[in-house]
């Protein structure tokens, strides 16, 4: 049988369906939908607009940071400092505005802080060869401590002349009654997805995660890109911090405490591989959604809150287990 060149070029490895079924993200989406359906029938309080509003809003903060984390994880790195960076950015915003500056200056200062932290992490990792785990573990401690220094470990809940603007930014619902944080999450998710799929930068991130040595040899600017991904991760934490400050209307120094683990869990559940080279924006959001639905449902079903960790941890292991089973089958 003669095969023309065009046929060879068009030849895909899998059909649409087989690709879908072998996709971890797809199964997590199914799990989220099934859980939501089950809960709507099993409880009266799940499918109420108030509860759904709560869930979607709770998902967003983890999801936004998970989007940034996705970049880092695709390169094969990790960023443990995101929870603390979120807190530091919030605190810089809060303290700046509390001192009487406008919301624009507050946000600028906050974003600049996040980017500076990310650049510090990135330079140490890319140019000085530090292991990402160690650098960002150190930063986890440093950033939170700096947040305490900045606020003298007090709660800030008065944001100066632009107090109302900040609350509207985070707590409003400007379009179709969708909570603003959800809108931000969708916009950032689209930007992340586009960047990963359609830009040279995104392609190079995958290349670094797949084979860093090969990327270097073929002339990919590996070091610059690594700095950039840690800056993106810190930036996403900073943005989530700003939005969360507006939502909560107060900042304490334990904001975002332990969040890094939830964020990493969300990306891994969504299909990202901690060894690098695999990950999607949609997966990060879906992973965050699954964690939140599990948490929410345990509360509604009246299960003791102490069980939360067990269920979320179980979800992480289960998600990766499916991936392993597929790999075993492939290698047979």
């Amino acid at each position: 049988m003669a095969v023309t060149l065009d046929q060879t070029i068009a030849q895909k490895q899998h059909t649409f369906l087989s690709r879908l079924f072998s996709n971890q993200t797809f199964w997590v989406v199914i799990a989220v939908i099934l859980a939501c359906l089950f809960l709507s029938f099993a409880t009266d309080s799940f499918a109420t607009s108030k509860n759904l509003f709560n869930i979607t809003r709770n998902v967003t903060f983890v999801a936004i940071v998970a989007l940034g984390m996705t970049f880092v994880i695709i390169t094969g790195g990790i960023d443990l400092s995101v929870g603390s960076v979120l807190c530091l950015s919030s605190m810089v915003l809060a303290v700046t505005m509390h001192a009487g500056y406008s919301i624009e200056i507050g946000i600028l200062a906050s974003i600049a802080t996040a980017l500076a932290v990310g650049a510090f992490n990135g330079v140490l990792i890319a140019y000085l060869g530090f292991p990402p785990f160690v650098v960002t573990l150190g930063m986890l401690s440093v950033a939170r401590s700096l947040a305490m220094v900045a606020s003298n470990n007090t709660v800030v809940f008065q944001f100066g002349p632009d107090h109302q603007k900040l609350l509207a930014l985070g707590g409003g619902a400007w379009v179709f009654g969708i909570a603003n944080p959800v809108l931000y999450m969708i916009i950032l998710g689209l930007i992340t997805g586009f960047t990963l799929r359609w830009t040279k930068f995104g392609r190079h991130i995958f290349a670094i995660g797949g084979n860093e040595h090969a990327a270097t040899l073929t002339g990919v600017p590996v070091k610059q890109i690594k700095v950039a991904v840690y800056m993106i991760s810190a930036l996403s934490a900073g943005l989530a911090g700003i939005i969360q400050t507006g939502w909560l209307g107060a900042v304490t120094t334990n904001l975002g405490n332990g969040m890094e683990l939830q964020v990493i869990a969300a990306t891994v559940i969504g299909g990202a591989d901690l060894a690098g080279g695999v990950g999607t924006a949609f997966g990060a959001i879906v992973g965050a959604a699954l964690i939140e639905v599990i948490r929410n449902s345990l509360g509604l079903l009246g299960i003791n809150a102490f069980w939360q960790g067990t269920f979320i941890g179980g979800a992480i292991i289960l998600a990766v287990l499916f991936d392993r089973i597929r790999n075993f089958r492939r290698s047979d």
Partner: protein
Amino acid sequence: MPVLELANISKHFGAIQAVNDVSFSLEAGEVVGLMGDNGAGKSTLVKMIAGNFHPSHGTMRLDGKDLVLHKPADARQHGIEIVHQDLALCNNLTAAANVYLGRELRRGIGPFRILDYGAMYKRAGQLFAELKSETRPRDLVKQMSGGQRQAVAIARTMLSQAKIVLMDEPTAAISVRQVAEVLNLIRHLRDQGIAVVLISHRMPDVFDVADRVIVMRRGRKVADKKIASSSPEEVTGLITGAIEQVA
């Protein structure tokens, strides 16, 4: 005029002298076998020509002009392509993505440019056809055979008008049938007027395809002669040091 000339090139890493005062020239359409034992300095020498390392001493001239390379992209711009020993492939990407790694095609206007998947699949497919390889552009490299992976790495060198192709152990890890394919490919490159440097441990390959053989030992060039006037026995002697040096 030689296409590439190396004059008194040396490279040291701290106290280790990897390449010591090596000079040679390369003509267009010539296949040169570069041989030597492990640690003889072959790879270091080739990495300097490819822009991965900067020579500690000495000069390189391309088409009679001084050549200074700061990064691999510089070498490519001058028409120097390399097939790395480990092939430098990313398993998580498609064949086409690997072929275009580091020089992806994009379309769009000004700063708003997106990856041109269609054009990359098309051109990669044509290159694989030209190489008579069964590799398909959309396949992930993860699931490919040794020969297919080799084709992906070699297709990279054909993207632009290369003057020199450096091949680091291209036949080390592939089947016998595929070795013949790779050697044919080297002839194919030579017939287009490309100068090929073939680093190899495999004596039959070098004597089959090369016009000239250069032997290195402990960082120094110990022989540089026509294949016709040499023999595998002599080259083996030169590699091991049983023969000290030939003119």
